[in-house]
């Protein structure tokens, strides 16, 4: 089976459940008092899709304004981005534009797959309707799904859809792209799977 390494990034305002989404996806748990992320965090999950063993390195970023100068360096080489907002917070939805700008500024891969996730649909006090999210996603050519990390609705689907899309995007995923570089400038090889030089590693 083919092994594929992909790098995925989660961004969005603070306190909208980015880490919870990730935790739900990776460990299938939910921790309401999960500490606020400082800087970036990192999780790995391997899923099997299309006869490929896809190893996802997921970078979870802090949403706080002050951390925004710290996180962009992690945008580099990402194949996909999950942009999260909180359906119970209009503000987090309104900030999406800013995040997209950020993404355009710092992401290196032109065709990286963007997915919009409206989180916390379990909450009753909904401020952002589904159609709002859909519209935004359409306008910015993103994938869209609503999810709840708490009730696990849509979480797996979100990640799977994203990976699927990445694998279908030739410029992001191509077997030829993989070649180990012996370059002094290339990122040092490591035991852990992080995407070497921003390219897919297919072994």
């Amino acid at each position: 089976m083919e092994n594929v390494n992909l790098k995925v990034l989660i961004i969005g305002d603070s306190g909208i459940g980015k880490s919870s989404l990730l935790l739900r996806f990776v460990n299938d748990t939910f921790d309401p008092d999960q500490s606020a992320t400082i800087g970036v965090d990192f999780k790995v999950k391997t899923i099997v899709l299309d006869q490929k063993r896809v190893k996802l390195s997921i970078w979870d970023t802090a949403g706080q304004e002050r951390f925004r100068t710290l996180t962009p360096s992690y945008y580099r080489g990402a194949h996909g981005v999950i942009l999260v907002y909180d359906v119970s917070s209009r503000g987090s939805f309104q900030n999406l534009e800013t995040w997209l700008n950020e993404l355009d500024t710092y992401a290196t891969k032109k065709d990286l797959v963007k997915m919009l996730v409206g989180n916390k649909i379990d909450k009753e006090s909904r401020e952002v309707s589904r159609s709002d999210g859909l519209q935004f996603a359409r306008r910015n050519s993103m994938l869209f799904i609503e999810a709840s990390a708490k009730t696990r609705d849509g979480v797996q689907q979100a990640f799977q859809e994203l990976v699927q899309k990445i694998l279908q995007t030739p410029s992001l995923y191509s077997a030829e792209e993989h070649r180990q570089t012996l370059d002094p400038l290339a990122p040092p090889p490591s035991d852990v799977s992080w995407c070497g030089g921003g390219s897919c590693t297919v072994t």
Partner: protein, 1218 residues
């Protein structure tokens, strides 16, 4: 792929209705099973499919042929594991009709046969060799795919031919089909053409059967390339004596520098000669070209005219090859590159220099660092121009940046003086960079700001270095200023308390009255005397009269300087107490402030620095004030909005008002005494006032940037201030990767997550410290409300806020004076904090706070403590009242005890940003960069610069493209750019790609050169040559009579040569062009004779052979560039009239009987295709052919033996050649 397979043995399946020979029993339905079809059958089926697809079997295809346009179609088919390329070649050109004579008889013949007999097709100007040999206009070639094994044996050939035969029969195809045998360069083909009645075999052998009178068409080809005008006038090129200067280095040269006209091919043609009437052999020939009835001339342009840019880029990428050769150390193979560059230099016409001269070196350095030589010359930092997309795509650097200049300079130096010189230049550059770092001189042409990761790593490194240098400069300036101010501050501070300023008072008063409702003003005034600190000191500072005049209102956002007063003040205070402390200033704030200065039109010069500082501060203060006013406005608005808010605002107002009045009275005297001194006073004044206030109230926050909305500190009720914070240290891309790798390596466990968070908490720590310093008595709740507002849950209004407060805020120490408590807590935490720090230090580079800083912090918090105690009474009351107005609590996740946020908060001491350990260690970063740059190996450097260089090249070409509105070259450029953008990093692996890019760029350049100057230049060159020819033929009219006409004729000829494939001269002996060519020909022949003699002398061993080959002899000579070749006497074609005689017609168009002649013909053909094979090879070729013929005579042997023999032959031949 869906295969259409027809079992050949069953003739044609009935389903394929279009087959020519469909049988009678079409009505029977039968199941056709293709599953067992053999590879051979499927091969035939594929062939047939192609023939049908190309409509070769169409009965009326012959009509469509006439006047067709030259084109080709290609498909790939397989025969079991072997792959073949099937190509349909359609040559253009008109066909004469009815050559074969009359009517019905002619129609019997397939088109191919008629074409063969068509003398009009004898010598097509530019055509496939098969078209030239057989006069065909349309034919199919089957050859093995490139790189695949070629067909060697006769058995294989037979197999192929029989497949073709079946396919032809099945489809009714009348187009000749050829199969290529042996290596492609040998041009050995067998083929067949069939129709219902006639079948023509084309074999590689010559078999002539003489029948009656034979007409021959003769064409001699003369290659004219011995130009006596060897210096070719082109655009001004490399001026050897000029040396380097800025202009020269700043521009990549573009353009061709060789004569675009490579050679003229003059063909003397006798279309119809009766064979008996001519004699042509080694010693005598009737066929004097000067008497030929038709001449045709074709122009051959230099295919790969070395263009300057190409050479530059190529010679630049050349040293990089060394990286790719395994096991080569980078120092040793200089030899190769030296040799290479030497040849390059010769080509450029530059005398080989061992190394770069001092003068040139200086020029290069001056070009790169113009301000080093002319200190007045301030270079604006490069702006990203219109092609910023290119910078991103190519991951290069902005044009005109130091990086780009460096790339260009290195490339040019490399081309002209060699790799060594390039290294020398680089060495010089690194020295200069180090010098600049050590002496704090910023880099020219490097945009400020953190490294731009869209640019190449080299650029990032330079930016990083520049960051460090700028940081250092600011630090030094701060130091200087500090030194200068120190005595003054010490002096002023004691008096500060009793120095209120009237000017200040008035000013403030007016501003208040302007923007506040009158009742508010009165409130402020009434409260006079009960100081609660707040923005107190600030208010005093703001009121510097000079600043009001000099600095207009500024936008609030640009507020870096707002922090300055407090810092200065801090400095002053500290310097009186703790002289040893020396790191106070944080670069970025100063940086902001300076920018502000610039925008305000004030220039910095060291002599008046102090004064300016004052002004600048004033600016900042002014701004501060504006902001305050706005705040107030907001406050008054808020009053209307809601009760709670209004109250809050009033509380704040009160605090401020009190502070103001307080400080006003304090500062009056000082201001009065200092005012006349001038600009410098502003700053000092503020400080003095401030220091006084601090000393008095002790509630002063430090390192404030601006007020944080209308938030207030929960415990104290004072307005919350956003602290000045340290920026995150800039990072270059490689460090980012490193960091990421480190993070990833930690794994995904809980522990790892926590560790990662700790690693990254340095900035959080710094921010917390700054916040604590700016907002004395603050809680984590306050911090969170600023830092992560969504983690603050607003309480329900009207609910017992007091209780909530007590619970959440007072958790630490009850209602008893939060601030004091907090202050003492800092002391306790001291040791703890250090311990934590150490732990961090072990973790890598992530630890932030050094011990040195810590001691400062110590005294600071002590002082704070003291201050708190002093004023605790006042605050107690104040905080008591204000507590009510803040309700809410931390979010669940923040409330969790033991969270890292709490942990960091508990160890963070109130330290303003400027006194914290710098997150950005300029010395370390600069040294890292310098070390990196100095440690680069030549090839590594080459790799780094390569994208920048290609970017420059693309830009140069684009500019040229735009300037001349060329249309031809864009596609190559686009290709090159897209190819380049697919290279993530310049590595050794990407070198082939770069080479491809460079070749694309060279092509573009070449195309441009052609479009721009090539054609005119070629015309010019031709004109010169023809004029020369006229002179040589002794035909120059001399008297100028009729010259105009003659020239116009020649011009027309030139025009045709440039535009059309060939120029046909029907009157070679009379026309001016003809005469000119005659002159050239004569010169050529003369030279040739001379050289031929030399050759025969030199090559005695092979001489005889060559002589037998006749005129091809000179070809074997390696240095044949100037030689004139009457290349071959071949081309005589004997038309066989006896085609009528038999169905099986042996052979192609006849050639001369003599093997030598035949060989020569082939040699000629090879030449035509520019195969570049040497004479010997051709020799081998014809020998091989002979053997082939022998083989053929022997007839069909088994395939295996055949192929064995073929291999043997190969060996033999190699031996022969060797």
């Amino acid at each position: 792929m869906k295969r259409k397979i027809v079992a050949p043995m069953e003739q044609v399946s009935e389903q394929e209705g279009d087959a020519a020979s469909s049988g009678g029993d079409a009505g029977i339905f039968e199941i056709t099973d293709f599953t067992n079809a053999s590879p051979w059958e499927s091969f035939i089926a594929d062939l047939e499919g192609l023939f049908r697809q190309w409509e070769l079997a169409r009965p009326d295809y012959e009509q469509s042929l006439s006047g067709g346009i030259q084109h080709r179609k290609t498909e790939r088919i397989g025969y079991s594991s072997r792959k073949f390329v099937v190509t349909l070649e359609v040559e253009g050109g008109q066909r004469e009709k009815g050559v074969l004579g009359n009517g019905a008889a002619a129609a019997e013949w397939p088109a191919a046969v008629r074409e063969m007999m068509d003398s009009s097709r004898d010598f097509p100007p530019r055509a496939h060799h098969l078209a030239r040999w057989y006069g065909l206009s349309q034919f199919v070639v089957i050859c093995p795919t490139e790189g695949a094994e070629s067909l060697h044996s006769q058995a294989q050939a037979n197999l192929m031919l029989s497949s073709v035969s079946i396919a032809i029969t099945n489809t009714g195809c009348t187009t000749p089909v050829f199969v290529q045998l042996h290596q492609p360069w040998r041009l050995v083909y067998v083929g067949m053409c069939g129709s219902d009645r006639v079948r023509v075999d084309y074999s590689g052998s010559v078999a002539t059967v003489k029948m009656g009178p034979v007409q021959v068409a003769v064409r001699f080809l003369y290659v004219l390339r011995h130009w006596s005008l060897d210096d070719w006038p082109v655009e001004p090129l490399v001026d050897v004596d000029r040396g380097f200067d800025g202009e020269y280095l700043g521009k990549l040269r573009v353009g061709a520098f060789t004569d675009p006209v490579k050679e003229l091919h003059l063909s003397a043609i006798w279309p119809r000669l009766t064979e008996e009437l001519v004699t042509d052999n080694g010693t005598f020939s009737d066929l004097n070209p000067n008497h030929a009835s038709v001449w045709t001339v074709t122009l051959h342009l230099t295919e790969n005219a070395s263009c300057i840019l190409g050479v530059t880029a190529e010679s630049y990428s050349k040293p990089l090859d060394r990286l790719t050769s395994p096991g080569s150390t980078l120092a040793s193979p200089l030899f190769q590159s030296v040799v290479y560059t030497a040849t390059q230099r010769m080509e450029l016409g530059r005398t080989p220099e061992e190394n770069i001269t001092e003068k040139d070196l200086e020029a290069v350095v001056k070009f790169l660092f113009p301000d080093a030589y002319d200190s007045n010359q301030r270079t604006p930092s490069p702006t990203t121009q219109g092609d910023s997309d290119l910078v991103v795509k190519l991951k290069s650097a902005p044009l005109d940046s130091l990086t780009c200049r460096l790339a260009k300079a290195l490339a040019i130096v490399n081309t002209e003086c060699g790799v060594k010189a390039m290294c020398k230049v680089w060495h010089e550059v690194t020295l200069e960079l180090r010098y600049r770092w050590e002496n704090a001189i910023s880099l020219p042409h490097i945009p400020e700001g953190p490294p731009d990761m869209k640019c190449c790593i080299l650029h990032q490194k330079l930016q990083m270095l520049n960051c460090s240098i700028l940081h250092k400069i600011k630090h030094q300036q701060a130091q200087q200023q500090h030194d200068r101010q120190q005595p003054r501050v010490n002096h002023v501070a004691p008096y500060a308390n009793e120095s209120p300023s009237p000017a200040l008072k008035t000013h403030h008063g007016s501003s208040v009255s302007q923007c506040m409702p009158p009742n508010s003003t009165t409130t402020t005034m009434e409260r006079n005397g009960t100081s609660t600190g707040g923005g107190t000191g600030r208010e005093g500072e703001r009121m510097c009269p000079q600043s009001d005049g000099a600095v207009p209102t500024r936008p609030i956002s640009n507020s870096g300087s707002g922090s300055r007063p407090s810092r200065r003040d801090e400095e002053g205070r500290r310097s009186s107490g703790d002289q040893s402390e020396d790191e106070f200033f944080e670069a970025l704030e100063d940086h902001d402030a300076e920018e502000e200065e610039d925008s305000g039109g004030i220039t910095v010069s060291s002599s008046s620095q102090v004064g300016e500082r004052g002004l600048e501060e004033g600016g900042g203060e002014e701004e501060e004030k504006m902001e305050g006013e706005r705040e107030r406005k907001k406050g008054s608005g808020g009053k209307v909005e809601g009760k709670k808010e209004g109250e809050e605002t009033r509380g704040k107002m009160e605090g401020e008002g009190e502070g103001e009045t307080n400080s006003v009275s304090q500062q009056q005297t000082e201001d009065r005494s200092d005012e006349p001194v001038g600009g410098a006073v502003g700053g000092d004044e503020g400080e003095g006032g401030r220091a006084g206030v601090v000393g008095g109230s002790g509630r002063e926050g430090m390192g404030r940037l601006q007020q944080c909305g209308d938030l207030v500190i929960i415990a104290t009720g004072e307005p919350m201030y956003i602290p000045v914070t340290q920026e995150h240290p800039p990072l270059t891309e490689d460090h980012v990767w490193e960091q990421q790798a480190v993070m990833a390596r930690l794994g995904t466990s809980e522990e790892a997550t926590r560790l990662r968070a700790k690693m990254q908490s340095s900035s959080l720590m710094s921010d917390m410290q700054a916040f604590k310093a700016a907002n004395p008595g603050c809680q984590l709740e306050d911090f969170v409300r600023w830092y992560s507002p969504r983690d603050w849950e607003e309480g329900e209004e009207g609910e017992g806020e007091g209780e909530v407060e007590e619970m959440e805020v007072g958790g630490e120490g009850g209602g008893e004076g939060g601030p004091t408590k907090a202050a003492s807590k800092f002391d306790v935490d001291e040791g703890e904090g250090e311990g934590w720090e150490e732990e961090e230090g072990g973790g890598g580079e992530w630890g932030v706070i050094g011990e040195g800083e810590r001691s400062g912090g110590d005294s600071e918090s002590d002082r704070n403590d003291q201050q708190h105690k002093d004023s605790s009474k006042e605050h107690e009351t104040a905080s008591h009242t204000k507590k009510k107005f803040v309700s809410g609590r931390l979010s669940l996740r923040m409330r969790q005890p033991g969270g890292l946020w709490w942990e960091v908060w508990s160890v963070a001491e109130p330290v303003p940003a400027h006194r914290q350990k710098k997150l950005f260690d300029d010395t370390r970063e600069a040294e890292k960069v310098l070390h990196y740059l100095a440690g680069l190996k030549t090839a590594e450097l080459g790799l780094l610069v390569l994208p920048v260089l290609t970017h420059c090249a693309v830009h140069a070409l684009r500019e040229r493209h735009a300037a001349h509105r060329l249309s031809s070259s864009e596609s190559h450029l686009t290709d090159a750019v897209s190819l380049l953008s697919s290279i993530p990093h310049p590595t050794t692996d990407s070198l082939p790609k770069f080479r491809e890019v460079i070749s694309l760029l060279s092509q573009t350049e070449h195309l441009q050169a052609r479009a721009l100057s090539f054609m005119p230049a070629a015309g010019h060159s031709l004109r010169l040559k023809l004029a020369q020819g006229l002179d040589l033929s002794g035909q120059h009219t001399g008297d100028g009579k009729g010259r105009g006409g003659a020239d116009s004729e020649i011009s027309a000829g030139i025009e045709v040569l440039l535009q059309e494939p060939e120029l046909v001269l029907q009157d070679p002996t009379t026309s001016r062009t003809g005469l000119a060519l005659q002159g050239l020909l004569a010169a050529q022949v003369a030279t040739r004779d001379l050289e031929e003699q030399e050759v025969s002398m030199r090559k005695i061993r092979v001489g005889a052979e060559h002589r037998r080959c006749g005129k091809g002899a000179a070809q074997g000579k390696p240095a044949n560039s100037a030689a004139a070749h009457r290349e071959a006497s071949g081309g005589e074609r004997e038309r066989e009239r006896k085609g009528e005689k038999g169905e099986k017609k042996k052979g192609q168009r006849g050639r001369d009987e003599s093997a030598g002649q035949n060989r020569a013909t082939r040699a000629k053909e090879v030449k035509w295709e520019e195969r570049g094979v040497t004479g010997e090879e051709r020799e081998g070729n014809s020998q091989e052919e002979k053997r082939n013929q022998e083989d053929k005579k022997k007839g069909g042997q088994e395939g295996q033996r055949e192929s064995e023999r073929a291999q043997e032959k190969e060996k033999r031949k190699k031996k022969d050649r060797g």
